[in-house]
Amino acid sequence: MSKKVDNIIIVETSDIIYEGIFSILTNTGQPYKIHLADNLRELEQLNIRTKADLVFINPVLIQNQLKDFHSLKKELNDTRWIGIVYTYFDQQLLSIFDEIIYINDTPDKIITSVQKFFSEQNPGNQNQQQKTLSEREIDVLKLLVSGNANKEIADKLNISTHTVISHRKKISQKTGIKSVSGLTIYAVVNSIISINDYRE
C-alpha cells in the first residue's frame, strides 16, 4: 500500500523546459512528486528540499553562486543532481553534477537517467517497510507503558540506558507514536498489555 513516492525538484527559469521535463516525467506513469523552483535561493527555502531525491538544475543558476550550491549539496547529501544543459559550459562546472541531460536528448534518454537513480535506491526501501515490533522492543514497550523510566527499564532487562533509548526510537518510528500515553493506547489495542493494567 505504501508505495514510495519520489520527490523531484526542477530548478529552471524557462517554463518551456520545466513543462517539458514535467510532462516527460509524468508520462512515465510513476508517482513522482514534482516541484518547481525558479532559482537557487527559492530552492534553499523549499521545505520539501530535504526530502528531494532528485534535483534537475540549470547550471546557469549556480554559475555565480558556487559556494551556496556546494553548501546546499552538502546539506542534501542523499540528493542526486542532474544538470540541464542547453548551452556550452565548462567541463569543470558540469562535473559537479551526478548526471547531465542535454536539451536535445530524447525523452527515453532522460527517463533512463532518472530511473537509474531510483533503481539504485530500491533495495534499501524494501526492508525499511518492516513495521512489526521485535520481541525486545515489546519487552521495552511493556515496561515503558507500565510507568518505568529508562534507567529502570535498563536495569530490569539488563541492558544499557543507551540501548533502551535506541529501542524507544525504533518503537516510535515503527508505530508513528511518540508519547508514552499514546503508546499505552497502542499497547492495549494490540493486546500487548491488558486493559486492566491500564491506569491513568
Binding site: 523549499l46 521545505n47 507514536i177 500515553s181 499514546g182 493506547i185
Partner: protein
Amino acid sequence: MFIVSEMKISDVIIENPYLILMLEHLGINLEVHDKTIEQICNESNISTELFLTIANLFNGFKPLPITEYTSNDIQTIIKYLKNSHQYYMEEKYPQIQDYFEKINKINDHAEIIMIGKFFDKYFLEVTEHLDYENDVVFPYVLDLNNLLTHKNSDKAVSSYSVTEYKKHHDDIEEKLTDLNNLLIKYLPQKNDQQIRRKLLFCLFELEYDLKIHSQIEETILIPLVEKMEHLAKKRK
C-alpha cells in the same frame, strides 16, 4: 507557490485556502476585491515583509528571518498569536471534544474511552501552555516593546527573559500526531467512520495551524525578542 507582494490576494487564497485563517488571525476581512498583497498590507497597517514571511510559511517555505525590529511588527505578531489562541480554545478544541463525545456514543470500545481521556489530558496541557503565553510571555514582550518605543517609560519590565520561554516551549504537536496515528491506524472502528473522518479533518486543520504558530514563535518572535532584550540592555 512562493508569494510576492504584487500578487492579488484573492489568487493566493484560491490556491491555498488555509490563508483565509491567516487573514483572520491578522484581523483582515475577506471581501478583498482585486487588491494586491501590498495594498492590503498598507490598508491594514501591517508590514509587507512580515505578511509575506507568514504567508510563505503557510505555503511550505521556510521563513526568512525578519532582520529589523519594529514596534509595529511586534504588535502584529502578538495580535496574530493571540487571535490564533482564541481560535484554538473557542472553536477548534470544543469542536474536537464534541466529535469525541459523538464517537463515544456510537463506539463503546474500551480503547475509544481511553483515547477520549488521552485527548482530555492533552487538552489540559495545551490550555496550560496557551495560558502561560497569554499571561506571561505576551505581556512581557509588549512591556518590552513599550519600553523601547516610549523613551520615558518608567514602567518596570519583569526580569523575565525569552530564554526561559525557549525552555518552556514544549511540543504540543507531538501528541497531536500521536492522536492522528492512533485514530487512523489502530483504533477499532464501529459505525463511526463519518464522525471519525470529520474528527480527523478537524485535527489536520488544527495541526496545520499549530505548526505555523510554533514556527512563528520560534523563528520570528523569539529572535526578535532577543534583539529587543539586547537593545534594552544597551539603554541602561
